[in-house]
Symmetry: C2
Subunit: 200 residues, 2 copies
């Protein structure tokens, strides 16, 4: 019953980025694969009547500090981008476009974008910067722009958001493992125990 | 510089209860003491424009499941009370009353109430049930009732809430260790690392 681990992430979520750096190796150690699923946290938050942690007074300052500390704790390079958060629908549409033909290529795109944003501050909401990343990822000139303006891929992303909400996702990162939901980078120890010794 | 660990908790917070069962032993292993501070999450949430996790759609179902799983993960007996959450201002006022003379006795009261609520479902918001717990804790008949109706102890609890908010507290459990804030039962691994090897 080595089912894949569903991994829901948002391109502008620091905790998603941190988790993206450990989930593959952890899954592989236990003979599991990972199904990456790009979602828009905005849509997910709306369904759950939630807001970003950085849009709350008091919690905002803590969260900015905790992003950096949690990255250090996980041994992941991290620098809070000067522009944060950013719009991630275009990066997400390209993800689902690549995913249709080759999920591994979509994962490579996700890693490239997450690392560019959270280590070098590349603004994923800026179409010029995103097009440059697409070129780096091997897409033809103009291909990424055509994807993110295409109603088909806009619709594909909406479907992904709806499916996530239907699966109980209300934040990111969010994992589903053998049907069991785990929310947050900080559920790593529980996921590890589950993978090592099963349900607890 | 073995400063105490500040431990902010609410009597109706499942994650506070779980943390209350491990923080003392962990602190003691590292030569630290714990300063327990009862707060009202309602007041804290209001300042940070937040709500309880169980008052959000979708997140509610996950949270109820995660309370139980996180308790099992920590090896702590737990049963979600049939009435949840409950009003905890009276239990908190008795805490601060006992704290004025003997902080250790206030901690014993906190443990007694948290365990009664989260293992036996004793309604801490019910004055008869709370008075019975006060008797169990060795208070004279009528003493607890006099405390929670006394403007002096109402005011003491308000001061505790205001001090928590001023310290950056926006949820519970919340720890401050060498000036470093940690929010949530799930920050235990980071607190452990800090205690073992200092700032990271």
């Amino acid at each position: 019953m080595n089912t894949p681990i569903d991994f829901y992430f948002d391109f502008s979520s620091p905790y998603s980025y941190i988790a993206s750096e450990w989930i593959e190796a952890l899954a592989a150690r236990h003979g599991r694969t990972v199904e990456w699923k790009a979602v828009m946290l905005g849509a997910v938050f709306q369904a759950a009547e939630l807001k970003s942690p950085v849009s709350h007074p008091i919690k905002r300052e803590y969260s900015l500090h905790d992003f950096e500390r949690s990255a250090r704790f996980a041994g992941v390079p991290f620098a809070i981008p000067s522009k944060f958060p950013v719009a991630t629908q275009n990066a997400s549409r390209v993800f689902w476009f690549l995913h249709a033909d080759d999920p591994a290529r979509a994962v490579a795109w996700a890693r490239l974008c997450l690392r560019a944003y959270f280590t070098r501050g590349v603004d994923l909401g800026d179409t010029t910067a995103l097009a440059a990343l697409a070129t780096e990822a091997g897409l033809e000139a103009g291909a990424a722009e055509r994807v993110w303006t295409d109603p088909h891929w806009k619709d594909r992303l909406r479907q992904a958001n709806d499916a996530a909400i239907a699966a109980g996702v209300f934040g990111a990162p969010f994992f589903v493992l053998d049907g069991e939901p785990f929310w947050g980078n900080d559920r790593r120890p529980q996921i590890e125990r589950w993978l090592e010794s099963g349900p607890f």
